[in-house]
């Protein structure tokens, strides 16, 4: 196997694994901020117990995220050194800004959340929760800026030596896809944790554990579960339109759309036969054109507008995208069902629904992983869309043998981390929140 192929696989694997954890961090930070704010306002210990449980989980999530995140920062230099040499002017400052403006804030205050309960006043503790929330989301902002610049580069020019020169920092940061991709990603994390909180609380309620704490947790979870997938529908729609506008080849791959047409169909399910340039499946006639700008006859660019060597792996992008969209629709439906059960007061006795919720916990991860595959594989063969090929970005001095070593190393370590993470996560959940003083052990 050649070094380039191994480098791509290793990056896909390490970023795919890392991505699981920040996607839990942001939403968990939101849940902690909500419960700690309610704790401060209502002075009710129930919220404090909820915060403490999720602070323990955050400790575990954050540490695996940080440990696997440092691998990503190294990887641009270790595995993509030609890319780093070419885009240092833009990509470097974005990563450095992430450190100075965001990651310091999150990392310094996360220590207070995990270790500081007995040492600091409730107000300082709340400030720490706010700082972890703000720091985490700022971190997401800068990482999304970096990735969005690779999707829709802006604020640069190319000099005679072929290097990317920064001409406008603000245009590079607020490139055409930054904000819409940020909202889509942040909401994905919130959905992930809405379902995580609902699932954990549903398990407690169904088993009759932790009484009022579990019921309050379920209420917070279900409200978030009802709201966040709906907000995501809007953000996702905006993102899809941006992709059609700025990355038409990726958009065409997402729908298996070969010919530029007016009145393009949208597939609910399907299969793309790239060799024969045909897509089979269940489709809604003119659906894609309609969703693009509410005009059944709007023009959608097809893959054949560019030469085949510049197509991404079409079927993989198509399937990933459709799995993500399908899961999103399921989340909307189940979130609304949950809201209705909560509204009518039936949720605490809805055995079937409570039984189902814990099994949903892995599904948002599947959704955001397939979403990430859509975004990143859909960008191929480019490392910077339309500007630089992925193959041109790889390190030149790293051999296939060295990559084989690192690939095996990461596979073994990440397998261990994954097993330990799941085991300890389940253990912390089973141990549950601490009992409320004076209300007996439930």
């Amino acid at each position: 196997m050649d070094a380039l192929f191994l480098a791509r696989i290793q990056f896909a694997f390490t970023i795919g694994f890392h991505f699981l954890f920040p996607m839990m961090t942001l939403g968990t930070a939101l849940v902690i901020l909500i419960s700690e704010t309610l704790h401060l306002i209502k002075k009710d210990d129930v919220y404090r117990k909820i915060t403490d449980l999720f602070a323990r989980l955050l400790g575990l999530i954050f540490v695996v995220g940080a440990a696997t995140g440092i691998v990503m920062e190294f990887s641009f230099g270790t595995n993509w050194s030609q890319y780093s040499r070419t885009v240092g002017d833009i990509f470097g400052p974005i990563l450095a800004a992430e450190g100075v403006i965001a990651f310091f804030l999150e990392s310094v205050f996360v220590g207070v959340l995990i270790f500081g309960r007995k040492k600091v006043s409730p107000k300082v503790y709340w400030v720490a929760a706010l700082m972890v929330f703000v720091g985490g989301h700022l971190s997401a902002f800068w990482i999304i800026v970096a990735n969005s610049w690779m999707q829709t580069p802006a604020g640069y020019e190319i000099n005679a030596a072929g290097k990317v020169i920064l001409t406008s920092f603000s245009s590079a940061v607020f490139n055409p896809s930054t904000l819409v991709r940020l909202s889509h990603t942040v909401l994905a994390s919130w959905v992930t944790c809405a379902i995580m909180v609902s699932g954990i609380a549903a398990y407690y309620v169904r088993k009759g554990l932790h009484g009022e704490t579990a019921r309050t947790m379920l209420k917070i979870g279900i409200i978030l579960f009802a709201v966040t997938p709906l907000l995501q529908l809007g953000a996702a729609h905006g993102h899809a339109i941006q992709v059609i506008n700025t990355q038409p080849v990726k958009a065409a791959a997402m729908e298996g759309h070969f010919e530029t047409t007016r009145g393009a169909d949208i597939y609910v399910l399907g299969y793309v036969d790239v060799d024969n340039e045909k897509t089979y499946g269940i489709s809604i006639p003119r659906g894609l054109s309609f969703l693009y700008n509410f005009d059944f006859n709007s023009e959608i660019k097809g893959l054949k507008d560019v030469s085949k060597e510049n197509w991404p792996p079409v079927n993989l992008v198509f399937q990933s995208y459709h799995i993500m969209v399908g899961l999103g629709m399921i989340f909307i439906a189940l979130g609304l069902l949950g809201a209705w059960l909560l509204w009518t007061g039936k949720i605490y006795t809805a055995k079937g629904f409570l039984f189902l919720l814990p099994f949903l916990i892995p599904l948002p991860h599947l959704a955001h992983e397939t979403g990430w595959i859509t975004a990143e594989v859909g960008r191929q063969p480019w490392i910077i869309y339309g500007l630089m090929k992925t193959a041109a970005g790889a390190s030149v001095v790293v051999s296939a043998g060295e990559l084989m070593f690192s690939m095996i190393m990461f596979t073994l370590i990440y397998l261990l981390l994954f097993v330990m993470f799941v085991m300890l996560f389940v253990k912390i959940v089973k141990k549950g929140p601490e009992p409320l003083a004076g209300k007996g052990v439930h």
């Binding site: 403490d52 575990l60 954050f62 540490v63 695996v64 440990a67 696997t68 995140g69 440092i70 920062e73 190294f74 641009f76 230099g77 270790t78 050194s81 780093s84 040499r85 240092g88 002017d89 833009i90 990509f91 470097g92 400052p93 990563l95 450095a96 800004a97 992430e98 450190g99 100075v100 403006i101 990651f103 310091f104 804030l105 990392s107 310094v108 220590g111 207070v112 995990i114 270790f115 500081g116 007995k118 600091v120 700082m131 020169i165 920064l166 920092f169 390190s395 030149v396 001095v397 790293v398 060295e402 070593f405 690192s406 190393m409 981390l417 330990m420 085991m423 300890l424 253990k427 912390i428």
Partner: protein
């Protein structure tokens, strides 16, 4: 201030400061964790030691992440050459950093295998402490580079005597940082043991630093004409002398400050030897990566200077605030 050379020099200094900050702060976490089996004689003592770094180590590691990001932003060629060239060594650094990070959390939540996670914590911390010095030693002492700015050596090129001397000297300094942090955060028998460890490590550091400075002065003859070199030597040995006196007097906090000063002296000497190079070419000085041929454009350096000079004082402010929240002696049951 629109001369690009001013900003290239400024960024050399800023990255030096970030890496020094990393060395001093994460230095005590790594050093303390590496010394765990020697300082802590039972579970309670070990828990106390880990509790003393638990709330702060992750913030400390961000100094490295930011230093790496700053190197990427200011001198992408140096970042690209070193990280891809030292590939296997960098993978070992990652291995060490991953294990030291997750081991503390796993140890606390997984009592059945706590012994295993303690071993991975100790090994990961010790390995990281050693490798950083070896890496720094290589870029200062020099490695073979080709005309495309690419590394032309092998993994074993990195293990020459002078870089290994940097590694051992750096590790001795890191261990001393850890012992002095333990002195500051512990009481009773644990503190007494930490004092003794600090004293032994003071002598180890004195010997290592003496060899280090002599070797530096011989390898880089220009250093003898550089005032910073003498400041560095003075800082290190004054730090060690104060450490000796304060440990004898059983002072809590002074040893840590003295140890930090001593470590800073080692760093300053390396920086003075290195400037204006980033990666010295051992085969041909003309192939060296310097701050002048490896940097990004003026505009990028200016933007980054604004972000760093406004952002870092704020970072230091809230870092200090959080350290103050956790000031005083650590307790074994501080975790959750």
């Amino acid at each position: 201030m629109d001369n690009i050379q001013n900003f290239q020099v400024l960024w050399f200094v800023l990255i030096f400061v970030l890496l020094l900050g990393y060395a001093l702060l994460d230095g005590f976490d790594l050093g303390l964790a590496a010394l765990l089996p020697f300082l802590g004689k039972n579970q309670e003592e070990k828990n106390t030691l880990i509790a003393s770094i638990g709330p702060v180590w992750d913030g400390n590691e961000v100094w490295l992440i930011t230093g790496g990001g700053a190197l990427f932003a200011a001198f992408p060629h140096a970042y690209a050459t070193a990280f891809s060239g030292f590939y296997l060594a960098m993978m070992l650094v990652l291995l060490a950093l991953i294990f030291r990070a997750v081991s503390m959390e796993f140890r606390a939540n997984d009592p059945v295998r706590a012994g295993l996670w303690e071993k991975t914590l100790v090994a990961g911390s010790a390995l990281a402490a050693l490798l950083f010095g070896v890496a720094l030693g290589n870029v200062v002492y020099g490695v073979p580079l080709d005309g495309r700015m690419e590394y032309a050596g092998s993994f074993f090129t990195l293990l020459r005597p002078v870089p290994l001397l940097f590694g051992i000297t750096g590790m001795a300094a890191v261990l001393m940082q850890g012992a002095c942090w333990a002195v500051m955060k512990s009481e009773g028998a644990l503190q007494e043991r930490s004092f003794r460890a600090a004293l032994i490590l003071m002598w180890v550091n004195a010997a290592a630093a003496l060899i280090y400075f002599v070797v530096l002065a011989n390898v880089f003859d220009r250093l003898l004409a550089n005032a910073l070199f003498y400041v560095a030597v003075l800082l290190t040995f004054a730090g060690l002398a104060i450490l000796l006196v304060s440990v004898r007097r059983r002072n809590d906090a002074v040893p840590f400050c003295a140890s930090s000063a001593s470590f800073a002296g080692l760093f300053l000497a390396a920086g003075a030897a290195q400037f204006p190079n980033l990666i010295t070419a051992s085969n041909d000085p003309a192939l060296s990566l310097t701050i002048y041929n490896s940097s990004t454009g003026l505009y990028t350096l200016q933007i980054m200077a604004v972000i760093a000079l406004v952002g870092m004082p704020i970072v230091m402010g809230y870092t200090l605030f959080v350290y103050r929240l956790f000031k005083g002696k650590a307790k074994a049951d501080d975790h959750y």
